[in-house]
């Protein structure tokens, strides 16, 4: 499945300040795009634009050579987005949370799948506790279990390493590498030094423009 997300002449202004201008991006299958920049430089905004959430920008975005707005539903079916908030309901158990995500993905799925996804992220034994009683890192892990549970070619991850311990970081890095080698692609922001043995594209935001480097 060929995967191609292109952005041409992307520009975004917030409160009279240009976050970035004339930004050209291209993400193909087997690539990682890392968005860098200081706090407030527009990393999350860029990720939201690339995931089709914000419409308040200039320039154009193409998904598989078609304008993103026209193939939005199709695009969403290939996208997995993890935002700042983990998207985990505190009153529900990790299993119940994942069951909802499975249903929203349009595939029913079994409890065995959910259990093995939770086991992958090291939450065995916590599957029946209300997520509100889990630590911040464990809640983030519940969200990360979706990477395993609902396979999507394009991952857009906003600070996925937040609150994750050292071992979890190494595992997530391995998961990202495996996803990219399997033909998927990843767009992410992080302040962490990444140790992933696959080619990585970088975008540096700040000072009103964006620089692309390989």
């Amino acid at each position: 499945m060929s995967l191609r997300l292109q952005a041409r002449k992307l520009a975004c202004e917030r409160d009279g300040r240009w976050l970035f201008r004339d930004l050209d991006l291209e993400i193909r299958s087997g690539e990682i795009l890392r968005v860098e920049g200081p706090n407030g430089s527009g990393k999350t905004t860029l990720l939201k634009i690339l995931s089709g959430q914000l419409a308040d920008y200039e320039g154009s975005i193409f998904w598989r050579d078609a304008p993103l707005r026209r193939v939005h539903r199709n695009f969403l079916a290939s996208l997995l987005y993890l935002g700042h908030a983990p998207g985990v309901k505190a009153a529900l158990t990790p299993l119940e949370n994942l069951a909802w995500y499975q249903a929203m993905a349009g595939t029913g799925g079994t409890e065995a799948q959910r259990m093995s996804a939770l086991e992958m992220v090291g939450l065995r034994g916590f599957e029946d506790l209300p997520a509100g009683q889990l630590s911040a890192g464990q809640q983030r892990r519940v969200a990360l279990a979706r990477l395993e549970l609902t396979p999507r070619p394009l991952w857009v991850l906003d600070e996925p390493f937040t609150a994750i311990d050292r071992e979890g970081v190494a595992d997530l890095e391995a998961r990202l590498a495996a996803h990219v080698r399997g033909g998927g692609s990843v767009v992410l922001t992080t302040h962490q030094a990444l140790d992933i043995p696959v080619p990585m594209c970088r975008v540096r935001l700040g000072e009103g423009k964006g620089n692309v480097a390989s």
């Binding site: 959430q53 909802w100 249903a103 349009g106 998961r175 590498a177 495996a178």
Partner: protein, 243 residues
């Protein structure tokens, strides 16, 4: 965590679109009902408000059954409407705070229908209980016999419209930290027709005239709002989340 191996992955295609939408609808309703069941405080709030207001009126005005019977239909309806209004603010607030609302917008499912699932849960946990509780409170206001069935029916129909219309306001104000007053101002004008025909139905039942016209109008209001509101709710949610 165990290390995944690098192998080309096949990305599961969803089932038939209709089946997958039905699945997502049921899952969303189930999830919201379950979350409310675990934390019943929010749903209980509006019921307690309804009961308190109605019990205070005979004390504050007069225990005279004849006087109370004349004002009972309007009183019950106004109190139920305000109780429903009180519960609106929380309709999307939790989902907004924990990020699941963002994920709902990102799911490849029709958002108007998903929003309608949340509205249905809201009605099942506030409007319907309010309607079922109203006869008990009606006894306290010495509501004349023969009007109780109409009271329940009119409240059940009317509160569904209140939930559907109210959801537009709740969706518009979900991003604001203190949206409560604004929400009331936004939806109260739209609530007035429901109040007029709802209280009118109960008054007609007491007077012994036909209630069919009032109930039919309540049903029509519900039908119209069901047709148009889901799209308005979806658009409001998009505006609230993404500016």
């Amino acid at each position: 965590m165990s290390r995944p191996e690098a192998s080309p992955k096949s990305y599961a295609r969803g089932r038939e679109p209709e089946a997958s939408v039905a699945l997502a609808l049921l899952a969303t309703m189930r999830r919201d009902l379950l979350a409310l069941l675990r934390r019943p405080g929010a749903a209980f709030n509006s019921l307690a408000f309804f009961a308190l207001v109605i019990t205070l009126f005979p004390i504050g005005i007069s225990p005279d059954p004849e006087l109370l019977a004349t004002i009972a239909p309007g009183l019950l309806w106004v109190a139920a409407l305000l109780a429903a209004l009180l519960s609106l603010d929380g309709m999307f607030r939790d989902d907004f705070a924990d990020g699941t609302l963002e994920q709902l917008l990102l799911a490849a499912q029709p958002l108007p229908l998903m929003a309608l699932a949340k509205v249905a849960v809201h009605w099942l946990t506030t409007g319907l209980p309010l309607a079922l509780m109203a006869p008990v409170l009606g006894v306290m206001l010495s509501l004349p016999p023969g009007s109780y069935a109409v009271l329940v029916l009119s409240l059940a129909l009317g509160s569904a419209t209140l939930s559907v219309i109210g959801a537009i306001g709740a969706a518009l104000t979900v991003g604001l930290s203190r949206g409560g007053v604004l929400l009331s101002l936004l939806v109260l004008p739209l609530y007035v027709p429901v109040l007029i025909f709802g209280a009118g139905a109960v008054q007609a039942a007491i007077a012994g005239t036909s209630v069919a016209a009032h109930l039919a109008l309540l049903g029509a209001l519900l039908a119209v709002s069901l047709v148009f509101a889901p799209w308005a709710i979806a658009a409001s949610l998009r505006i609230s989340l993404n500016g």
